[in-house]
């Protein structure tokens, strides 16, 4: 069978709808009699809630209802743990999750306290201003180290400290390794990340039909199935009576995979009032009430021999989880594991403490903690290289895991509770591609010296990383040939722009010999597919894609068998092409797939035992562990010595995500990730003051990179197929974002002679670093 669309730059099936403004997003859902919700949220980061008076709000014209914690009855209980911590021996984990509405105590600015249901959002907001909340502000826990100091205020008064978790993973004997090192490089690193800032804010619409006992919910979630299951449990409904639909979603990036208070409150209110209820978050709420990533503080040490080969790494770090920790240990474990990178690290000691603070909850944002680990390792290697007189390229090349060493077991546990094992990779090939593409040698030997003689501050950086992708547990897909000859494909993951309507269609189209446009993909609707987990951790193409493939293979088999019967030919002689089945060599003797589908579902007669009706199959795919993608990013920058503005002159990516289904879409994912990475490295900063107030709470202060800030990116591919799934694919969703901080630091330091130990930079911070450097050399 020839591959028709696999590997091709196929245009997307979903675009016409999106381009004409006819795609349904959650806020587009309009239902008769719909009421609107506005929240009253805490203005303090840490305070005792002494009283709430909603009388004036309730009396406001157009207000249907006002709810506080006391009105919630059984619903007022802590939210669920979303991700079980992996079974790492000796780990400590203190689970604290949010209640739907705060009572007695508020723990972060933006925590919901009350809500108004009214005829319009405008009226609801008017009434929200009439709610009188009396609070006794308490000292806020903001700084990670101060949070752990003796006598620090407690975010959770029932714990003895602000420790949310503690984990240590080791491999080998670092203490012994460091004693024989030719060089020890030790630094303290600060890596702070930011908000996902999807252009679409969150939203929930719920509709309850008392007569049929059915609850329909439209939700901006990346994980409709777990949300459906959680709602059924919390609202005491059978799962089959709850339908959660994630329609078109305007960007996910991680924080839309959660179980927020709003996601249970809105459906509950719909049931209480028997009216459709809508809540759409506004941008001000998004900055404080939608989860984000934030900072870690690392004290790390690298031990190398005289040739720059890694003997071992020790890393001790603090991780900020915010006021609650519903997402387990995912982010810091990703940091811990991803620090090892594509390198041979014989001895490793990594220990982290997760700290509660009076700030917004931290859950994964594109990269999910990997950025921090990559920053630490790449910076340590850069400093070691400088001391040993090696180039950044050479020190990396010397330490790469060789192609022959796969599968490569790193000896510690990953976020999916499986041993961190890299399935395949060719790290040197990616490095070579990037070095060649950016003309590294020519730049460093000729161009850069010449530009420097002109007084220009130009620098080059090159970094590498691995990314664990495609983790389980599983996803499902159902493929159905319809009687009109089109094919329906249903899968449980949600879609936030990754092109699932096209990528999954390509996989199925190739098996069944139909046009990509003839495959109608349904995602994110729990009524269509009720088993699965969601879109996160760069796993859609790997896990859901593989399930689509398996289901399509089974349907292909059914089609060819039925066609073989029809033509009285051998199954091996049937060719599927152009939506038809024909006998090899006789293309004029063909039968349409739709006709076969009708025949496969007879209205009369007998069928053989074991026959399944129609041309349909459902299959589930669960990989034994994640597959490891990798990449190398390189960049040339120029820094303006007066304004400290950084201009990116060239940006090169050499990326390996295994087999590529659609190169156009893969490029798009890489571009988007790099743009986010550039934002995180230089423009975006969640600035909290010491009372826990977010000072950068609008797009005027929190700067998303624009078309003038993101350069043209050049991408090259290496392909090392994954042996862990039938397509050989690896994930790519987060890849672009992961190494950018480390890259920025290296390139800027190369330009200026500074030593960057922190992220994000910014023109002001860079100016400070430049001045300090200038003062040192004066």
């Amino acid at each position: 069978m020839t591959t028709r669309s696999f590997g091709q730059r196929i245009r997307r099936n979903e675009d016409a709808r999106l381009l004409t403004g006819r795609a349904l997003f959650v806020d587009d859902v309009q239902l008769p009699g719909m009421l609107h919700v506005a929240f009253v949220r805490s203005a303090h980061a840490h305070a005792r809630l002494t009283s709430i008076n909603v009388d004036a709000a309730r009396a406001h014209p157009g207000v249907m209802a006002v709810y506080t914690a006391d009105d919630l009855g059984d619903l007022w209980k802590p939210g669920p743990l979303l991700v079980e911590p992996p079974p790492i021996p000796g780990h400590v984990f203190n689970l604290r999750t949010q209640y739907p509405l705060a009572r007695d105590m508020v723990r972060f600015v933006g925590e919901p306290i009350a809500l108004i249901v009214a005829e319009s959002r405008y009226i609801a907001e008017d009434a929200a201003e009439l709610v009188e909340v009396e609070m006794e502000p308490l000292e806020a826990v903001v700084d990670l180290e101060k949070a752990l100091a003796a006598g620090a205020p407690l975010v959770h008064g029932d714990l003895v400290s602000n420790v949310a978790a503690h984990v240590k993973q080791c491999r080998g004997d670092y203490a012994r390794a460091r004693s024989s090192a030719a060089l020890l490089v030790a630094r303290r690193f600060l890596y702070d990340r930011g908000a996902s800032a999807a252009i679409e804010n969150r939203g929930v619409v719920a509709e309850w039909s008392p007569r049929s006992g059915e609850l329909n919910v439209w939700d901006t979630t990346q994980a409709p199935i777990p949300v459906r299951n959680a709602l059924a449990a919390q609202l005491n409904l059978p799962a089959s009576q709850v339908r959660v639909i994630a329609p078109f979603i305007g960007g996910g990036f991680g924080p839309k995979i959660m179980f927020y208070p709003e996601e249970v409150l809105i459906p509950w209110i719909a049931m209480q009032l028997a009216r459709p209820i809508k809540w759409i978050e506004d941008r001000a709420e998004n900055f404080v009430a939608t989860t984000q990533e934030r900072g870690q503080v690392h004290d790390a040490e690298l031990a190398v021999d005289a040739d720059g080969r890694i003997l071992g790494v020790r890393d001790v770090f603090l991780h900020d989880t915010g006021a609650y920790d519903p997402y387990g240990l995912t982010v810091p474990i990703n940091t811990q594991c991803t620090l090892l990178g594509p390198y041979v690290v014989p001895h490793y000691e990594s220990e982290f403490t997760v700290v509660f603070t009076n700030k917004t909850i931290v859950t994964p944002v594109r990269g999910a903690g990997r950025q921090h680990g990559v920053f630490v390792m790449e910076r340590l290697l850069d400093f070691a290289a400088a001391e040993l007189g090696l180039t950044p390229v050479e020190i990396r090349r010397r330490n790469y895991i060789p192609e022959s060493a796969f599968p490569y077991d790193n000896g510690i546990l990953y976020q999916d509770s499986a041993p961190l094992t890299y399935d395949s990779g060719n790290y040197a090939a990616a490095l070579d591609l990037a070095v060649a593409r950016i003309d590294y040698d020519h730049f460093t030997r000729e161009e850069q010296p010449a530009l420097r003689r002109e007084g220009r501050a130009v620098g080059i950086g090159i970094v590498s990383y691995v990314e664990g992708t495609g983790i389980g547990p599983y996803e499902g897909a159902r493929v159905t040939v319809e009687t009109d000859g089109t094919v329906t494909l249903a899968t449980g993951v949600g879609t936030q722009g990754q092109g699932h309507f096209t990528v999954f269609a390509q996989i199925v189209a190739d098996q069944l010999g139909v046009d990509v446009g003839a495959v109608r993909v349904v995602t994110g609707d729990t009524r269509e597919m009720s088993w699965g987990t969601g879109t996160f951790a760069s796993r859609g193409a790997v896990v859901a894609g593989s399930a689509c493939h398996e289901a399509a293979v089974v349907v292909r088999d059914k089609v060819t068998r039925l066609a073989a019967e029809h033509f009285e030919a051998a199954v091996e002689d049937i060719v599927l092409e152009g939506g038809q089945a024909h006998v090899a060599g006789s293309p004029s003797r063909s039968i349409a797939l739709g006709v076969l589908a009708a025949r496969a579902n007879p209205l009369r007669g007998a069928v053989k035992p074991g026959t399944e009706p129609g041309l349909e199959a459902t299959r589930y795919f669960g990989p034994e562990r994640g597959s490891t993608a990798n990449g190398v990013h390189a960049m040339i920058v120029e820094v303006d010595r007066e304004t400290a503005m950084v201009t990116i002159r060239r940006y090169v990516v050499a990326h390996d995500c295994g087999t590529v289904i659609n190169p156009l879409l893969v490029e798009g994912q890489v571009h988007g990730g790099v743009a986010l990475g550039i934002g995180n490295a230089f423009y975006e900063r969640l600035a909290y003051d010491d009372t826990g107030q977010l000072l950068s709470a609008s797009f005027m202060d929190y700067l998303l990179p624009t078309s003038l800030d993101v350069p043209r990116m050049e991408t090259d591919h290496v392909v090392t197929p994954s042996p862990l799934n039938p397509l050989g694919v690896k994930g790519v969703g987060e890849a672009g974002a992961i190494p950018v901080g480390a890259l920025f630091a290296q390139a800027v330091d190369d330009a200026l002679g500074t030593e960057t130990l922190e992220m994000p930079l910014s023109p002001d911070r860079l100016f400070e670093l430049m001045s300090a450097r200038g003062a040192e050399s004066a």
């Binding site: 999106l18 403004g21 997003f25 587009d28 571009h671």
Partner: protein, 167 residues
């Protein structure tokens, strides 16, 4: 106390009538009173550009206008670009599809409506000019590169220059 008024707004050549709160934003009138949900709201403070529509042919942020300000003017939204729906796309829309100039699509209508007057006034822009014109629209998915490619492609096609689909 809220003050209401009867209001007619012409959008895409059609008059929409509703009785609205005088402080109703134009973006909310478009989406709720007129039911044209292609115009999206991303920030409500004029920074992201997702709500961009045309007012008498000029790009404006509908979240920064009151609906009553549109009385007597002609508004055009993304729905007005392809009046027959998905089957006859505007060349700009086709170019976006061919160049993969959108991922989640949420910022896309605002970008299209910003580019329409831009291309009208600058029929053959270079990359720099395109990036400047786009700089008031935030996109979190694409990194802008394919959007720039799409605008370039559209400008070539609209000017009658033979341009291939994305290679």
């Amino acid at each position: 106390m809220t003050v209401s008024t009867a209001l007619d707004v012409r959008i895409n050549g059609v008059t929409y009538t509703d009785t609205v709160d005088v402080r109703l934003l134009l973006s909310d009138f478009i989406r709720q009173s007129a039911g044209l949900t292609g115009t999206h709201v991303g920030c409500e403070h004029g920074a992201c550009g997702a709500c961009t529509v045309l007012l008498d042919g000029q790009a404006v942020r509908s979240c920064l206008m009151f609906a009553v300000q549109a009385r007597g003017h002609e508004v055009m939204t993304v729905e007005g670009l392809a009046p027959d729906g998905e089957h006859t796309l505007h060349p700009l829309q086709t170019a976006f599809r061919d160049a993969h100039g959108l991922q989640c699509g949420f910022c896309t209508p605002g970008i299209l409506m910003t580019m329409i007057p831009f291309l009208r006034d600058h029929p053959m822009p270079d990359e720099d000019e395109i990036r400047h014109a786009l700089s008031g629209n935030l996109c979190r998915c694409t990194g802008y590169q394919h959007i720039v490619d799409a605008v370039r492609l559209a400008s070539q096609r609209m000017a009658g220059v033979n341009a291939p689909a994305a290679s």
